[in-house]
């Protein structure tokens, strides 16, 4: 892409981002990113999970510092040292997870940190009146004295916007603002954005919902692997074209050869729904030796789905059968007993007890095996651990603390914990998250081996390449709904993303 012409090309009083770079250790998350936002326009920032959108917007909002590159905002060099400095300069960000104080009132939230004072006391009347005025400007009928906790998510978001308005923000960054909103609420938000836009405000709009981009954005910037790969002067671009740019051609990666699956169906999921509606009416089955990938964007309900199958979260309706037998999903213990095991998404919080040894971690969950009569002897744990360690190729000793292991080795410890049972259904949620690229291939080999040994394997990943490279079939979720199951032959980046963004 040619660099953005700045100043000379189209002089305006907006935002110019020039060649921003950012690395975390050896990983470059942002490379030479340049784009501009003109006054009174909405620029959509698109890309897959991990494409660099968040880093880029965090830099503009002052919560991250770039390694190189410059920003010009309203004609002046701009390098905010903190979010407060960015706000002072008129740049605000509305995070996906709203940053409100739930037990304070709407007005207090709007004015937190700069409560209007009179005579050494908070001037509540003035505060409520001013907050009320801002809320009216947004067309919102909420009492400024109401506690934020009692508001719906959509209304809470409005409070955040009102707060930004009172801070005289002229550029607002929205990170996935509609992820938690329903149709009408989204419409209201769009109405407000259009109104503020007409008043001259600018917006950077990050969203995974490509269908709404054409409606709200003026221009589109597409990111991939930390780079800006396309800039469109208009927003009514075919979704397919954007998706192709988002997924692009990635670096070749080493995925193991998959063996053909067997005939026996080990896992059958029927009409499964969650009480919170994070997934609805999901149906699929997995055969022995088969790897089913589950793809979808963040918030699509992937983790919730597999946690429910593993008994970790409750379901509201539907059924799960393992090797033909129905499983009563009333807790992880029941699922484990039925042969369903889960390698959870958050390794450190859910997968391993960090302060304890590899041996202990392997024993947790296998006491029926290590201690058949309830007696746990260190020698038995040691032997059991050594077997697991050598089977998975963990680089460590049984009485070494798990906290001292690399992420890849920690992941192998969790897999080793379950392999010994042996399970019938092996579920892995984000198996390579936070693991060095170099160590991933080893995890992929392990996963392929699990399938080869006759288990039904389910892999959830935000990394599309990973899902495609590892799976015999790919189930795509979007907003909690099953959008389709693609065979390996028909599952391409574009096909999956099209379903995932539908």
């Amino acid at each position: 892409m040619p660099p953005v012409p700045h100043h000379g090309g189209s002089p305006h009083n907006g935002l110019f981002v020039n060649a921003l770079c950012k690395s975390y250790g050896p990983v470059q998350v942002l490379a030479d990113a340049s784009f501009e936002v003109r006054p009174g326009e909405v620029v959509a920032l698109l890309g897959e999970n991990g494409a660099g959108k968040s880093t880029l917007s965090n830099i503009i909002a002052g919560s991250t510092k770039p390694d190189a590159g410059t920003i010009i905002w309203r004609g002046n060099p701009y390098s905010p040292a903190s979010p407060a400095a960015a706000i002072d300069a008129g740049v605000g960000m509305i995070h996906q997870e709203l940053k409100l104080l739930p037990d304070l009132s709407v007005a207090e939230n709007v004015y937190v940190g700069r409560l209007p004072m009179r005579g050494g006391r908070i001037d509540r009347a003035a505060m409520n009146a001013r907050a009320s005025a801002q809320l009216k400007r947004l067309g919102l009928d909420v009492s400024p004295e109401r506690k934020v906790r009692t508001l719906r998510i959509a209304a809470q978001q409005q409070v955040e916007i009102a707060k930004a308005l009172t801070l005289n923000a002229e550029l607002l960054i929205f990170d996935e603002p509609t992820a938690a909103l329903g149709g009408e609420e989204t419409e209201l938000l769009f109405k407000q954005i259009r109104k503020l836009k007409a008043e001259g405000m600018s917006f950077i709009y990050i969203s995974h919902r490509l269908d709404e981009i054409a409606e709200i954005a003026d221009r589109v910037v597409v990111m991939r692997d930390g780079r800006i790969v396309a800039r469109h002067e208009r927003a009514d671009i075919p979704v397919r074209a954007i998706v192709e740019q988002m997924v692009g051609r990635s670096v070749e990666r080493m995925f193991p050869q998959l063996s053909p699956p067997g005939d026996q169906t080990l896992l059958e999921v029927e009409n499964l729904s969650s009480p919170e509606k994070s997934f609805n009416n999901v149906n699929f089955s997995v055969r022995a030796g088969e790897i089913l990938g589950i793809a979808g964007l963040i918030g699509a309900g992937r983790t919730e789905l597999v946690r429910a199958i593993a008994g970790a979260d409750p379901i509201s309706s539907g059924s799960v059968r393992v090797a033909g037998k129905p499983v009563h999903l009333n807790g992880p213990a029941a699922a484990i007993k039925a042969g369903v095991v889960l390698v959870p998404e958050d390794r450190k919080a859910q997968g391993v007890v960090l302060d304890q040894t590899i041996g202990e971690n392997l024993a947790f969950g296998n006491f029926d095996h290590v201690a058949p009569k309830g007696w746990v002897f260190p020698k038995a744990v040691q032997k059991f651990a050594e077997a697991g360690i050598s089977r998975l190729g963990v680089k460590g000793k049984p009485n070494q603390a798990v906290s001292k292991l690399s992420g890849g080795n920690q992941q192998k410890v969790i897999i080793a914990k379950w392999v010994a049972r042996p399970p019938k259904v092996f579920i892995l949620d984000e198996p390579t998250r936070g693991i060095d690229v170099g160590a991933r291939a080893a995890i992929y080999d392990v996963i392929a081996d699990l399938a080869r040994s006759g288990m039904a394997v389910v892999v959830v990943s935000s990394d599309l390449e990973e899902v495609l490279g590892l799976s015999h079939r790919v189930l795509v979720l979007s907003r909690g709904r099953q959008r389709g199951i693609l065979d390996r032959s028909e599952a391409s980046n574009v096909a999956v993303m099209e379903l995932a963004t539908s």
Partner: protein
Amino acid sequence: MAVSNDASDLKAGAQAATGAKLSALFAGTMGPLIGLVLLCLALTLTTDTFLTVRNILNVLDQITVLGIMAIGMTLVILVGGIDLSVGSVLALAAMVMGFVAHPDYLNLGMPAGIVVALVVAGLCGLVSGLLVTVTKLPPFIATLAMMSVARGLGNMITDGSQIVGFPDWFTSLSITRHFGFLSVTVGLMIVLAIIFAIFLNYRATGRSLYAIGGSAEVARLSGIPVKSLTNWVYATCGVLAGLAGIVLAARLDSVQPSSGLGYELDTIAAVVIGGASLSGGVGSIGGTAIGVLIIGVLRNGLNLLGVSPFIQQVVIGVVIALAVATDTWRRRAQ
């Protein structure tokens, strides 16, 4: 980068292996153990009477109540909880025993009194456990509530007055020294300590408590019944507090609703001095035994040295802070 990491991993593993053999029983309690030894050395040198059989037996007698309660507290702290109600449950159990057994009240005999007392104490613990696991109250709050309730119930039984005078065989449990040195109550404490040490080290259920304290979610996802074990731990802590109340009754030949005031803090102090982490997952009966001994020896030694009880309180406070601070520094250094 990766290669050097692996090498150091292996080295650390080898070191951990040798270390594990050395301190299998007192795992992670080398610091407190050294402290106890130094304390005993100092008292041996500064007093004539510390290192005598008679005095050592005295110390053991004096720590039985604390020791028995501290076993239960160790379990609770291991699963990441806390029990502030043990002092009150001790008093309630003692009052229940007196009420059921004493001729002036129900006069049903000592065995019945002891059994009912232990059941009541266990129920108190179970209720605390349910408040934590089902009602999702923070353990601090749940047991703070129980602390008040149990104390009030204890007072209600006799409207605040004490019950004096138990059978001779009962009081002799804490006085008569069998084999020339061991009273039944001290023996009971030692047997309980050994049973629970074995339980925590070698039983699957005991090991599971370490998993729960290390990370309740990891434990749950590993198929460990976190809720029922947590309930069981609080109930056990209650029963042991009740048992401590019975031992105290034998020592004093009386029960009073105001007994055990502030014992929860001594108990927590002993467990923490013994190397347990209040965030759970770290601790052992061996460590707690050392913690209890440090508090017992310190009190005894300061008495022998003629230090006023007020200064003793100050010293014990300083020891708690020092013990935990050293532990924190050591961990950070690693």
